[in-house]
């Protein structure tokens, strides 16, 4: 169970990096970055999982007194919540810049932008 989730997360990271490094189209690169981002989040959430325990919500199923024995680690989940939101912000910024680049040159091919190339 935990191996499947870890492998899936790492596979998403690798697939995203491969896409970001090999594609020339900026939109495809942005999509690849979001795939890699998702992979990182999957791995982080998986690391917080513990066998035989339940979600960190102390409702009728988990009495407060038994919380320490019954819930999984809540910290990675809080961390991933932040990471997802920041990832969305980064994606929105990338899309806006891609739009401006397209407006400036009429192209989304990254190899056309040579100003910063040495």
């Amino acid at each position: 169970m935990v191996t499947i989730a870890l492998v899936a997360g790492f596979a998403l990271i690798l697939a995203g990096l491969y896409g970001a490094l090999t594609n020339r189209n900026i939109l495809r690169m942005i999509v690849s970055f979001t795939v890699a981002d998702t992979g990182v989040n999957v791995v982080l959430v998986t690391v917080g999982w513990m066998p035989g325990r339940t979600a960190p919500i102390l409702d009728a199923a988990v009495p407060v007194a038994e919380a320490a024995q019954r819930i999984i680690d809540p910290l990675p989940q809080a961390l991933v919540l932040t990471a997802i939101v920041i990832g969305l912000g980064v994606t929105a910024l990338m899309l806006a810049y891609a739009w401006r680049l397209f407006g400036a040159t009429g192209s989304l091919d990254i190899s056309k932008f040579t100003e910063l190339k040495w």
């Binding site: 191996t3 690798l14 102390l58 809540p74 919540l81 939101v85 980064v90 929105a92 739009w99």
Partner: protein, 233 residues
């Protein structure tokens, strides 16, 4: 072709590192000390059923304020980057056919339900899975539905900005109220903790999460509006 080969080789090396991590990984059998402290103190200190919410809104509340600030900056920068070349509202869209009856009626039916679901998610953030960010994203998905159903739809920017500004200021003021009447900045205990598990419990958490939900929803909606209103390059 050579480039693809080099990239593949580098990623194969990275995959080897990942494989070592996966093979050597064993999940913990007991909570580590930080998590144990959170699990034991959440009911009496914060009064929130959802431990993740207690961490995000109260114990690490300052980080969440920073996170909301990052989102605000993103929305502002997206608006700034895409602002010049704003098309006038009444200019004809580039030959889009009018939206069909089905899409219009369907979105009119769905948008209030989606908004209700979003409000439910962030009001219950301290009791069930969910919270301000998730609820705010659901609110913004209603805006996205309106834009998908009718790309020429224009939002009331003034309303979005007002909601965003008021909820942001109120969030900081609630944090300062925690500093003045309870243990510290963003401490939720200046409102009564109530009975554990009630909707009106956990002190200021439902109020703060409602404000975060409104703010995040307004920010996402303004990003969507900025992106959609720039139709020509």
């Amino acid at each position: 072709m050579v480039r693809h080969l080099i990239v593949s080789l580098c990623l194969a090396g990275l995959a080897l590192i990942f494989a070592a991590l996966v093979l050597g990984y064993a999940p913990d059998a007991a909570l580590n000390r930080t998590a144990l402290w959170y699990a034991e103190n959440v009911a009496k200190d914060v009064g929130s059923q959802n431990v993740v919410t207690a961490i995000v809104v109260t114990w690490r509340g300052l980080d969440t304020l920073g996170e909301v600030t990052v989102l605000f900056l993103t929305a502002a920068i997206v608006g700034l980057i895409l602002a010049p070349g704003h098309r006038p509202v009444d200019a004809p869209a580039n030959d889009l056919p009018p939206t069909g009856e089905l899409l219009q009626t369907g979105s009119r039916l769905l948008v209030p339900l989606i908004l209700l679901a979003g409000v439910y998610v962030f009001v219950n953030g301290h009791l069930t899975p969910g919270g301000g960010f998730q609820g705010g994203a659901i609110l913004a998905s209603a805006a996205l539905l309106l834009l998908l159903a009718d790309p020429r739809h224009r939002f009331a920017h003034r309303t979005i900005e007002t909601v965003e500004a008021v909820s942001g200021i109120a969030y900081v003021l609630l944090g300062l109220a925690g500093l003045a009447f309870a243990g510290g900045f963003l401490d939720n205990r200046f409102l009564p903790l109530g009975r554990f598990g009630d909707l009106a419990s956990a002190g200021a958490i439902p109020v703060i999460y409602t404000l975060i939900g409104l703010k995040v929803g307004a920010e996402f909606a303004s990003m969507l509006a900025s992106l959609s209103e720039r139709e020509g390059p």
